[in-house]
């Protein structure tokens, strides 16, 4: 068990600044997810924690001790790699056993621990196989077993589910969550899949170009995105973002007018999630345009209308039917959240309230 503190850590590859001045504290027992688009420095950050990548400057502390110069093996971490990194010439048993063997655990204890761990991830029947004879999901579980067998104080997982098919991903996600609950080990988890992040995380750190743009619980990241990037990144389909201006307590853009309690200003972006809008026939609806597309997703229909240069999407009932190009009106659902952002900086306009404005 341990907390991890990253203090002003920085990573340069030659002249390229991959991670600038990152500060992050991961609490003991927490499941922290690093989420962000490809190339934003998630893997680099994780590898610096693991000690596989030298840090250019800054400090890393684990359980209050500075470990900058410690080799990976002395950091009491275990890592699950994106493509597993299993030892191809060893059987599943030997793979799981290897960390114990290296640490000089005696034979009897090793046999027992390997057996217990294999049972935990349901690999008992496959112990004598080699990695090449396993399916992707099974390999994944071997990698997991190898990581948990010696109960480290920190788990590092780099997109461990990205190679699996959608169904297995959901199953393994639940298994991971259960495992974390059971072992309670501090976990840093990298992904670019927001669903994975939302479901697994105690807290999510959203990264962009090496910087953390928001660090918060999944709930608050969803309900209070700190800036336009987070607002657009989290949620599927993503939040409607409409450029406009506030005048006289009303946000206006072509075809859009929302009452907001904000002082007048230009260059404002209004954000509202598709699930916060519903289809209406009211003539004075805040969003009015022409129907652009209908997409049935199964449990609902995504309705997109166009007005001026903007497209606005709403989640409607699955049985909704209408003609393309027909007039279409959206109104916010009761309790819907409207988010306002400053266009130039992208920051959330926090004059209204920390929780966003509820209609």
């Amino acid at each position: 068990m341990a907390d991890v503190r990253l203090v002003d850590i920085e990573k340069k590859y030659g002249n390229f600044l991959a991670v600038p001045q990152l500060n992050l504290t991961i609490e003991d027992g927490e499941f922290l997810v690093l989420l962000g688009p490809s190339g934003c420095g998630k893997t680099t950050t994780m590898r610096m924690i693991a000690g596989l990548e030298e840090i250019t400057s800054g400090d890393i502390e684990i359980a209050g001790k500075r470990i900058n110069d410690k080799p990976p093996k002395d950091r009491d971490i275990a890592m699950v790699f994106q493509n597993y990194g299993l030892y191809p010439h060893m059987t599943v048993r030997q793979n799981i056993d290897y960390p114990l063997k290296l640490r000089g655990v005696d034979r009897a204890a090793r046999t027992r621990r390997v057996q217990e761990t294999a049972e935990k991830v349901e690999l008992e029947a496959l112990l004598e196989r080699r990695p090449s004879e396993l399916s992707g999901g099974q390999r994944q579980r071997v990698a997991l077993a190898r990581a948990i067998v010696r109960t480290p104080s920190i788990f590092l997982m780099d997109e461990p589910l990205s190679n699996l098919d959608a169904k297995l991903r959901v199953t393994m996600r639940a298994e991971l969550k259960h495992l974390h609950h059971e072992l309670g080990v501090t976990t840093v988890y990298v992904t670019h899949d927001q669903m994975e992040a939302m479901t697994l995380a105690s807290r999510i750190a959203i990264m962009r170009e090496g910087r953390i743009v928001q660090l918060d619980t999944p709930k608050r990241i969803y309900s209070e995105p700190a800036d336009l990037f987070v607002a657009g990144f989290i949620g599927s389909p993503s939040m409607n973002l409409i450029d406009g201006a506030i005048a006289g307590g009303v946000f206006t853009a072509p075809g859009v007018s929302f009452p907001v309690d904000q002082p007048d200003r230009d260059d404002v972006v209004l954000g509202i999630r598709p699930e916060d809008l519903e289809i209406s026939t009211a003539p004075d609806a805040p969003v009015i345009g022409k129907l652009y597309a209908l997409e049935l997703t199964g449990e609902s229909t995504l309705v997109t209308l166009r007005t001026g240069a903007n497209s606005v999407c709403a989640r409607g009932p699955a049985d909704h039917e209408a003609e393309i190009n027909a007039p279409c009106h959206f109104v916010p659902k009761p309790g819907a959240r409207v988010h306002l952002f400053d266009r130039p900086s992208g920051h959330r306009l926090d004059g209204l309230s920390a929780k966003g404005q509820t209609l």
Partner: protein
């Protein structure tokens, strides 16, 4: 029918340049043929030529010399190639440069290598002989190529020098195909560098090293040029390898029947090694996919 007609020219060429000489030498190996006496092969003598080899000291000596040469040269080349590959694996500033320099020895003709090493180890004016003598006074005036053991050592040295670069590139290829994560996982699991090498890298290099070893063995068995230009088989018969001995029997003593038999013995040895290698490879594959 036409496709078969079109194959004929290629077939004729292969027949004339490969199959015919092979078959001819095979048949000759069962005949008596002293080129100083006859222009055509003489009568069949059954296995006499092969039996002769079993009791003839020249052949037995060459077999022994070849064994020593092959074993030391293959072992040294592999160890050096693997070490160099480990050193060159990380891409540094001199990356391209070192690789170009590295390939130079391999680009040189083996005969030329023999000649230049003979010069360099000449006790009177050889660069290496003089240089070594200057650093280690005990070695001053050492008759390098006149001593049977030293001559063999230098012969091995030329061959290792010639082949190590090529084998280094093979090892580099092998190393590049090892997933980086396996080493990193081992580092996190707590393995020392030595353990990572022996426990993680080497096992994954098994296939490549096997190919390298077999290729190098066959090349070493065939090694001929340097014997001619460096030692001439001497001093005495101390560096008379099988390939060189076959040449002597055939083109110095003109005993073509015996020479053919010896050549086929050499071929049989190489074939056995190849078969063993293919077996190893197949069994390895079975293990990986069963």
């Amino acid at each position: 029918m036409l496709p078969y007609w079109l194959l004929i020219p290629a077939f004729v060429i292969v027949l004339a340049t490969t199959i015919y000489p092979l078959a001819y030498s095979f048949v000759t190996s069962f005949r008596e043929w002293d080129l100083t006496k006859q222009r055509r092969p003489d009568g069949f003598v059954g296995f006499d030529n092969y039996l002769h080899a079993a009791s003839e000291s020249g052949f037995q000596n060459s077999l022994w010399v070849t064994t020593i040469f092959v074993v030391t040269s293959v072992a040294l080349t592999l160890v050096i190639a693997m070490s160099l590959a480990l050193l060159l694996r990380r891409k540094g500033r001199m990356h391209t440069f070192t690789r170009i320099v590295l390939i130079l020895p391999f680009a040189m003709s083996p005969a030329l290598i023999g000649v230049s090493y003979r010069f360099m180890f000449n006790p009177e004016f050889g660069v290496l002989a003089k240089g070594l003598g200057a650093v280690f006074p005990a070695l001053e005036g050492m008759p390098w190529l006149a001593d049977p053991n030293l001559a063999m050592a230098i012969l091995v040295l030329t061959d290792v020098w010639h082949w190590a670069p090529y084998m280094t590139f093979m090892c580099l290829g092998g190393l590049a195909s090892i997933p980086r994560e396996t080493e990193e996982a081992a580092r996190i699991d707590g393995a020392s560098y030595l353990r990572i090498f022996f426990g993680i890298i080497l096992p994954q290099m098994k296939g490549v090293l096997l190919v390298t070893a077999v290729l190098k063995t066959i090349f070493a068995l065939k090694m001929f040029d340097q014997v001619v230009t460096l030692t001439g088989g001497g001093p005495g018969t101390s560096t008379e390898t099988l390939a060189f001995f076959v040449f002597n029997v055939g083109f110095k003593w003109y005993d073509m029947g015996y020479a053919s038999a010896l050549a086929w013995i050499l071929t049989a040895i190489m074939m056995l090694i190849s078969i063993w290698y293919v077996r190893m490879l197949l069994s390895d594959r079975k293990m990986a996919t069963a």
